[in-house]
Symmetry: C2
Subunit: 187 residues, 2 copies
Protein backbone atom coordinates (compact mmCIF):
# COMPACT_ATOMS: atom_id res chain seq x y z
CA UNK A 1 0.00 0.00 0.00
CA UNK A 2 1.31 3.44 -0.90
CA UNK A 3 1.77 5.73 2.09
CA UNK A 4 -0.29 8.87 1.66
CA UNK A 5 1.55 12.12 2.11
CA UNK A 6 0.21 15.53 3.00
CA UNK A 7 0.89 18.22 0.40
CA UNK A 8 1.18 21.66 1.99
CA UNK A 9 1.48 25.03 0.25
CA UNK A 10 3.31 27.55 2.43
CA UNK A 11 2.94 31.24 1.60
CA UNK A 12 5.18 34.01 2.93
CA UNK A 13 3.02 36.99 2.00
CA UNK A 14 4.43 40.16 0.50
CA UNK A 15 3.51 42.64 -2.19
CA UNK A 16 6.85 42.84 -3.98
CA UNK A 17 7.88 39.25 -3.31
CA UNK A 18 5.39 36.64 -2.15
CA UNK A 19 7.18 33.36 -1.39
CA UNK A 20 5.41 30.11 -2.27
CA UNK A 21 6.65 26.64 -1.37
CA UNK A 22 5.03 23.24 -1.74
CA UNK A 23 6.19 20.15 0.16
CA UNK A 24 4.97 16.59 0.51
CA UNK A 25 5.22 15.41 4.11
CA UNK A 26 5.03 11.68 4.81
CA UNK A 27 3.50 10.21 7.97
CA UNK A 28 7.04 9.54 9.30
CA UNK A 29 7.51 13.34 8.99
CA UNK A 30 10.08 13.11 6.20
CA UNK A 31 9.49 15.76 3.57
CA UNK A 32 10.08 16.26 -0.13
CA UNK A 33 10.33 19.50 -2.11
CA UNK A 34 7.62 19.80 -4.76
CA UNK A 35 7.86 23.45 -5.80
CA UNK A 36 9.42 26.67 -4.65
CA UNK A 37 9.10 30.12 -6.15
CA UNK A 38 8.24 33.76 -5.71
CA UNK A 39 5.21 35.63 -7.04
CA UNK A 40 6.35 39.16 -7.82
CA UNK A 41 4.58 42.46 -8.39
CA UNK A 42 6.27 45.72 -9.29
CA UNK A 43 6.05 48.64 -6.85
CA UNK A 44 5.38 50.80 -9.92
CA UNK A 45 1.93 49.28 -10.40
CA UNK A 46 -1.26 50.43 -8.69
CA UNK A 47 -2.04 48.46 -5.53
CA UNK A 48 -5.13 46.80 -7.00
CA UNK A 49 -3.10 45.48 -9.94
CA UNK A 50 -0.38 44.22 -7.63
CA UNK A 51 -2.91 42.30 -5.57
CA UNK A 52 -4.36 40.82 -8.71
CA UNK A 53 -0.93 39.60 -9.86
CA UNK A 54 -0.44 37.97 -6.48
CA UNK A 55 -3.89 36.35 -6.59
CA UNK A 56 -3.25 35.02 -10.09
CA UNK A 57 0.22 33.75 -9.17
CA UNK A 58 -1.02 31.92 -6.08
CA UNK A 59 -4.00 30.51 -7.99
CA UNK A 60 -1.61 29.08 -10.57
CA UNK A 61 0.50 27.36 -7.90
CA UNK A 62 -2.64 25.85 -6.32
CA UNK A 63 -4.02 24.73 -9.69
CA UNK A 64 -0.75 23.13 -10.80
CA UNK A 65 0.38 21.54 -7.54
CA UNK A 66 -2.99 20.78 -5.90
CA UNK A 67 -2.03 21.12 -2.22
CA UNK A 68 -4.27 19.61 0.46
CA UNK A 69 -3.93 22.61 2.75
CA UNK A 70 -2.48 26.14 2.74
CA UNK A 71 -0.34 27.71 5.48
CA UNK A 72 0.17 31.49 5.54
CA UNK A 73 2.50 33.49 7.76
CA UNK A 74 0.59 35.50 10.34
CA UNK A 75 1.15 39.25 10.08
CA UNK A 76 1.19 41.50 13.14
CA UNK A 77 0.31 45.18 13.36
CA UNK A 78 3.00 45.78 15.93
CA UNK A 79 5.68 44.98 13.37
CA UNK A 80 4.90 48.55 12.35
CA UNK A 81 7.03 48.35 9.25
CA UNK A 82 6.19 50.69 6.43
CA UNK A 83 5.08 47.68 4.41
CA UNK A 84 2.96 45.94 7.03
CA UNK A 85 -0.38 46.96 5.50
CA UNK A 86 0.69 45.65 2.09
CA UNK A 87 1.84 42.42 3.69
CA UNK A 88 -1.53 42.08 5.44
CA UNK A 89 -3.35 42.69 2.17
CA UNK A 90 -1.24 40.06 0.40
CA UNK A 91 -1.95 37.59 3.22
CA UNK A 92 -5.67 38.26 2.77
CA UNK A 93 -5.33 37.43 -0.93
CA UNK A 94 -3.50 34.17 -0.13
CA UNK A 95 -6.23 33.13 2.31
CA UNK A 96 -8.96 34.07 -0.18
CA UNK A 97 -7.39 31.89 -2.88
CA UNK A 98 -7.32 28.94 -0.46
CA UNK A 99 -11.05 29.40 0.19
CA UNK A 100 -11.78 29.73 -3.54
CA UNK A 101 -10.22 26.29 -4.05
CA UNK A 102 -12.16 24.86 -1.10
CA UNK A 103 -8.96 24.42 0.91
CA UNK A 104 -8.49 24.84 4.61
CA UNK A 105 -5.98 27.56 5.53
CA UNK A 106 -3.95 28.08 8.67
CA UNK A 107 -1.68 30.84 9.89
CA UNK A 108 1.52 30.45 11.88
CA UNK A 109 3.70 33.09 13.47
CA UNK A 110 7.31 33.61 12.37
CA UNK A 111 8.58 32.27 15.71
CA UNK A 112 6.43 29.15 15.46
CA UNK A 113 7.89 28.55 12.01
CA UNK A 114 11.49 29.09 13.11
CA UNK A 115 11.01 26.89 16.16
CA UNK A 116 9.51 24.13 14.01
CA UNK A 117 12.44 23.91 11.58
CA UNK A 118 15.42 24.95 13.73
CA UNK A 119 14.24 24.27 17.28
CA UNK A 120 14.82 27.94 18.10
CA UNK A 121 12.09 30.59 17.74
CA UNK A 122 14.53 33.45 17.13
CA UNK A 123 16.70 31.69 14.55
CA UNK A 124 18.12 33.91 11.79
CA UNK A 125 17.42 33.63 8.08
CA UNK A 126 20.62 31.69 7.29
CA UNK A 127 19.82 29.09 9.92
CA UNK A 128 16.30 28.60 8.54
CA UNK A 129 17.68 28.28 5.01
CA UNK A 130 20.31 25.75 6.09
CA UNK A 131 17.76 23.63 7.93
CA UNK A 132 15.33 23.71 5.00
CA UNK A 133 18.09 22.40 2.73
CA UNK A 134 18.88 19.66 5.23
CA UNK A 135 15.27 18.67 5.94
CA UNK A 136 14.38 18.53 2.25
CA UNK A 137 17.71 16.81 1.37
CA UNK A 138 18.70 19.52 -1.09
CA UNK A 139 22.30 19.88 -2.29
CA UNK A 140 22.14 23.64 -1.69
CA UNK A 141 19.71 26.08 -0.06
CA UNK A 142 16.48 26.43 -2.03
CA UNK A 143 16.44 29.17 -4.65
CA UNK A 144 15.29 31.91 -4.59
CA UNK A 145 16.75 32.24 -1.11
CA UNK A 146 13.89 34.12 0.51
CA UNK A 147 11.37 31.52 -0.60
CA UNK A 148 12.91 29.27 2.08
CA UNK A 149 10.48 30.90 4.52
CA UNK A 150 7.54 29.62 2.50
CA UNK A 151 8.92 26.08 2.65
CA UNK A 152 9.55 26.46 6.39
CA UNK A 153 5.91 27.51 6.83
CA UNK A 154 4.72 24.45 4.94
CA UNK A 155 6.88 22.11 7.04
CA UNK A 156 5.84 23.86 10.23
CA UNK A 157 2.22 23.36 9.35
CA UNK A 158 2.55 19.65 8.56
CA UNK A 159 4.51 18.99 11.75
CA UNK A 160 2.41 21.06 14.13
CA UNK A 161 -0.90 19.62 13.16
CA UNK A 162 -1.52 16.61 15.28
CA UNK A 163 -4.45 14.25 14.87
CA UNK A 164 -7.66 16.25 14.53
CA UNK A 165 -9.08 17.26 17.90
CA UNK A 166 -12.73 16.42 18.57
CA UNK A 167 -14.81 19.26 17.20
CA UNK A 168 -12.03 20.43 14.89
CA UNK A 169 -12.98 21.17 11.32
CA UNK A 170 -13.53 18.09 9.22
CA UNK A 171 -10.52 16.70 7.39
CA UNK A 172 -10.57 15.92 3.72
CA UNK A 173 -10.14 12.22 2.88
CA UNK A 174 -6.47 12.85 1.98
CA UNK A 175 -5.85 14.66 5.25
CA UNK A 176 -7.59 11.94 7.25
CA UNK A 177 -5.57 9.19 5.56
CA UNK A 178 -2.40 11.12 6.34
CA UNK A 179 -3.37 11.76 9.96
CA UNK A 180 -4.21 8.07 10.44
CA UNK A 181 -0.92 6.98 8.88
CA UNK A 182 1.01 9.48 11.01
CA UNK A 183 -0.61 8.13 14.15
CA UNK A 184 0.43 4.62 13.16
CA UNK A 185 4.00 5.78 12.44
CA UNK A 186 4.25 7.33 15.93
CA UNK A 187 3.53 4.10 17.79
CA UNK B 1 -27.70 65.67 -24.50
CA UNK B 2 -27.76 63.65 -21.30
CA UNK B 3 -25.16 64.70 -18.79
CA UNK B 4 -22.91 61.76 -17.98
CA UNK B 5 -22.44 60.99 -14.33
CA UNK B 6 -19.66 59.18 -12.57
CA UNK B 7 -20.71 56.08 -10.67
CA UNK B 8 -18.48 55.42 -7.67
CA UNK B 9 -18.46 52.41 -5.37
CA UNK B 10 -17.17 53.31 -1.90
CA UNK B 11 -16.01 50.50 0.37
CA UNK B 12 -15.44 50.81 4.12
CA UNK B 13 -13.49 47.60 4.67
CA UNK B 14 -14.10 45.32 7.63
CA UNK B 15 -14.32 41.60 8.29
CA UNK B 16 -17.54 41.54 10.29
CA UNK B 17 -19.21 44.44 8.50
CA UNK B 18 -17.89 45.74 5.19
CA UNK B 19 -19.82 48.87 4.13
CA UNK B 20 -20.59 49.31 0.44
CA UNK B 21 -22.15 52.41 -1.09
CA UNK B 22 -22.74 53.38 -4.71
CA UNK B 23 -23.47 56.95 -5.82
CA UNK B 24 -23.88 58.70 -9.13
CA UNK B 25 -22.15 62.07 -9.13
CA UNK B 26 -23.06 64.59 -11.82
CA UNK B 27 -20.59 67.10 -13.28
CA UNK B 28 -22.24 69.86 -11.16
CA UNK B 29 -21.21 67.70 -8.15
CA UNK B 30 -24.77 66.82 -7.18
CA UNK B 31 -25.08 63.21 -6.15
CA UNK B 32 -27.70 60.49 -6.10
CA UNK B 33 -27.86 57.34 -3.97
CA UNK B 34 -27.76 54.16 -6.06
CA UNK B 35 -27.14 51.46 -3.47
CA UNK B 36 -26.07 51.12 0.12
CA UNK B 37 -25.49 47.98 2.14
CA UNK B 38 -23.19 45.92 4.29
CA UNK B 39 -21.40 42.69 3.39
CA UNK B 40 -21.20 40.61 6.55
CA UNK B 41 -19.15 37.64 7.65
CA UNK B 42 -19.53 35.85 10.97
CA UNK B 43 -16.59 35.91 13.42
CA UNK B 44 -17.33 32.20 13.96
CA UNK B 45 -16.07 31.31 10.48
CA UNK B 46 -12.45 30.62 9.53
CA UNK B 47 -10.65 33.69 8.22
CA UNK B 48 -10.32 32.32 4.66
CA UNK B 49 -14.09 31.73 4.51
CA UNK B 50 -14.80 35.20 5.82
CA UNK B 51 -12.60 36.76 3.16
CA UNK B 52 -14.35 34.72 0.51
CA UNK B 53 -17.78 35.94 1.68
CA UNK B 54 -16.50 39.51 1.46
CA UNK B 55 -15.04 38.95 -2.00
CA UNK B 56 -18.28 37.42 -3.24
CA UNK B 57 -20.38 40.18 -1.69
CA UNK B 58 -18.29 42.95 -3.24
CA UNK B 59 -18.23 41.16 -6.59
CA UNK B 60 -22.02 41.05 -6.55
CA UNK B 61 -22.29 44.80 -5.90
CA UNK B 62 -19.87 45.52 -8.76
CA UNK B 63 -21.66 43.15 -11.12
CA UNK B 64 -25.11 44.55 -10.35
CA UNK B 65 -24.31 48.26 -10.12
CA UNK B 66 -21.39 48.52 -12.58
CA UNK B 67 -19.43 51.38 -10.99
CA UNK B 68 -16.84 53.27 -13.05
CA UNK B 69 -14.34 53.38 -10.20
CA UNK B 70 -13.85 51.99 -6.69
CA UNK B 71 -12.77 53.96 -3.59
CA UNK B 72 -11.55 52.10 -0.51
CA UNK B 73 -10.78 53.52 2.92
CA UNK B 74 -7.05 53.51 3.62
CA UNK B 75 -6.08 51.45 6.66
CA UNK B 76 -3.20 52.43 8.94
CA UNK B 77 -1.06 50.17 11.08
CA UNK B 78 -0.86 52.79 13.81
CA UNK B 79 -4.58 52.47 14.44
CA UNK B 80 -3.34 49.45 16.36
CA UNK B 81 -6.80 48.17 17.00
CA UNK B 82 -7.18 44.47 17.61
CA UNK B 83 -8.97 44.23 14.28
CA UNK B 84 -6.58 46.23 12.11
CA UNK B 85 -5.05 43.21 10.35
CA UNK B 86 -8.49 41.87 9.44
CA UNK B 87 -9.45 45.32 8.17
CA UNK B 88 -6.30 45.43 6.04
CA UNK B 89 -7.05 41.97 4.65
CA UNK B 90 -10.61 43.02 3.79
CA UNK B 91 -9.30 46.15 2.06
CA UNK B 92 -6.96 43.96 0.00
CA UNK B 93 -9.94 41.87 -1.08
CA UNK B 94 -11.89 45.00 -2.08
CA UNK B 95 -8.96 46.26 -4.17
CA UNK B 96 -8.50 42.84 -5.78
CA UNK B 97 -12.15 42.73 -6.84
CA UNK B 98 -11.77 46.17 -8.47
CA UNK B 99 -8.80 44.88 -10.48
CA UNK B 100 -10.68 41.71 -11.45
CA UNK B 101 -13.38 43.88 -13.01
CA UNK B 102 -10.77 46.04 -14.75
CA UNK B 103 -11.65 49.03 -12.57
CA UNK B 104 -9.33 51.68 -11.24
CA UNK B 105 -9.22 51.82 -7.43
CA UNK B 106 -8.24 54.63 -5.09
CA UNK B 107 -7.76 54.87 -1.35
CA UNK B 108 -8.65 57.82 0.86
CA UNK B 109 -7.93 58.38 4.53
CA UNK B 110 -10.74 58.75 7.08
CA UNK B 111 -9.89 62.41 7.60
CA UNK B 112 -9.92 63.13 3.86
CA UNK B 113 -13.36 61.55 3.72
CA UNK B 114 -14.72 63.49 6.70
CA UNK B 115 -13.27 66.74 5.39
CA UNK B 116 -14.84 66.11 1.98
CA UNK B 117 -18.39 65.66 3.26
CA UNK B 118 -18.46 67.83 6.40
CA UNK B 119 -15.64 70.33 5.85
CA UNK B 120 -13.99 69.09 9.05
CA UNK B 121 -11.44 66.24 9.10
CA UNK B 122 -12.25 65.20 12.66
CA UNK B 123 -16.04 65.18 12.32
CA UNK B 124 -17.87 62.51 14.31
CA UNK B 125 -20.00 59.68 12.93
CA UNK B 126 -23.31 61.48 13.49
CA UNK B 127 -22.09 64.54 11.57
CA UNK B 128 -20.97 62.37 8.63
CA UNK B 129 -24.32 60.55 8.62
CA UNK B 130 -26.28 63.79 8.73
CA UNK B 131 -24.28 65.30 5.86
CA UNK B 132 -24.64 62.17 3.76
CA UNK B 133 -28.42 62.34 4.18
CA UNK B 134 -28.38 66.03 3.21
CA UNK B 135 -26.01 65.63 0.25
CA UNK B 136 -27.95 62.68 -1.16
CA UNK B 137 -31.32 64.35 -0.37
CA UNK B 138 -32.51 61.45 1.76
CA UNK B 139 -35.42 61.84 4.18
CA UNK B 140 -33.42 60.10 6.90
CA UNK B 141 -29.83 58.94 7.40
CA UNK B 142 -28.95 56.01 5.14
CA UNK B 143 -29.56 52.57 6.59
CA UNK B 144 -27.69 50.63 7.83
CA UNK B 145 -26.20 53.55 9.69
CA UNK B 146 -22.56 52.54 9.49
CA UNK B 147 -22.69 52.14 5.73
CA UNK B 148 -22.82 55.95 5.62
CA UNK B 149 -19.01 55.83 5.68
CA UNK B 150 -18.99 53.90 2.41
CA UNK B 151 -21.20 56.55 0.78
CA UNK B 152 -18.97 59.30 2.19
CA UNK B 153 -15.96 57.58 0.65
CA UNK B 154 -17.65 57.43 -2.73
CA UNK B 155 -18.58 61.13 -2.60
CA UNK B 156 -15.10 62.06 -1.39
CA UNK B 157 -13.59 60.24 -4.32
CA UNK B 158 -15.81 61.86 -6.95
CA UNK B 159 -15.22 65.34 -5.53
CA UNK B 160 -11.49 65.06 -4.95
CA UNK B 161 -10.59 63.78 -8.36
CA UNK B 162 -9.95 66.74 -10.59
CA UNK B 163 -9.41 66.54 -14.32
CA UNK B 164 -6.85 63.86 -15.10
CA UNK B 165 -3.29 65.12 -14.76
CA UNK B 166 -0.98 64.62 -17.74
CA UNK B 167 0.61 61.23 -17.38
CA UNK B 168 -2.12 59.97 -15.06
CA UNK B 169 -3.53 56.55 -15.82
CA UNK B 170 -5.87 56.53 -18.81
CA UNK B 171 -9.52 57.24 -18.12
CA UNK B 172 -12.26 55.02 -19.39
CA UNK B 173 -14.60 56.68 -21.92
CA UNK B 174 -17.23 57.19 -19.18
CA UNK B 175 -14.68 58.76 -16.87
CA UNK B 176 -13.38 61.04 -19.60
CA UNK B 177 -16.87 62.21 -20.53
CA UNK B 178 -17.53 62.95 -16.87
CA UNK B 179 -14.23 64.79 -16.38
CA UNK B 180 -14.88 66.90 -19.48
CA UNK B 181 -18.42 67.73 -18.37
CA UNK B 182 -17.21 68.59 -14.88
CA UNK B 183 -14.62 70.99 -16.33
CA UNK B 184 -17.35 72.70 -18.34
CA UNK B 185 -19.61 72.96 -15.28
CA UNK B 186 -16.84 74.68 -13.32
CA UNK B 187 -16.48 77.57 -15.73
Amino acid sequence: MTTPSLRVLGIDPGLTRCGVGVVDVAPDRSARLVHVGVVRSSPDLAIERRLRLIADGVREVVAVHQPHVVAVERVFAQHNRHSVMGTAQASGIALLVAAEFGLEAATHTPSEVKAAVTGYGSADKAQVQAMIARLLRLDSPPQPADAADALALALCHAWRRGPAAPGASALTPAQRAWADAERRARR
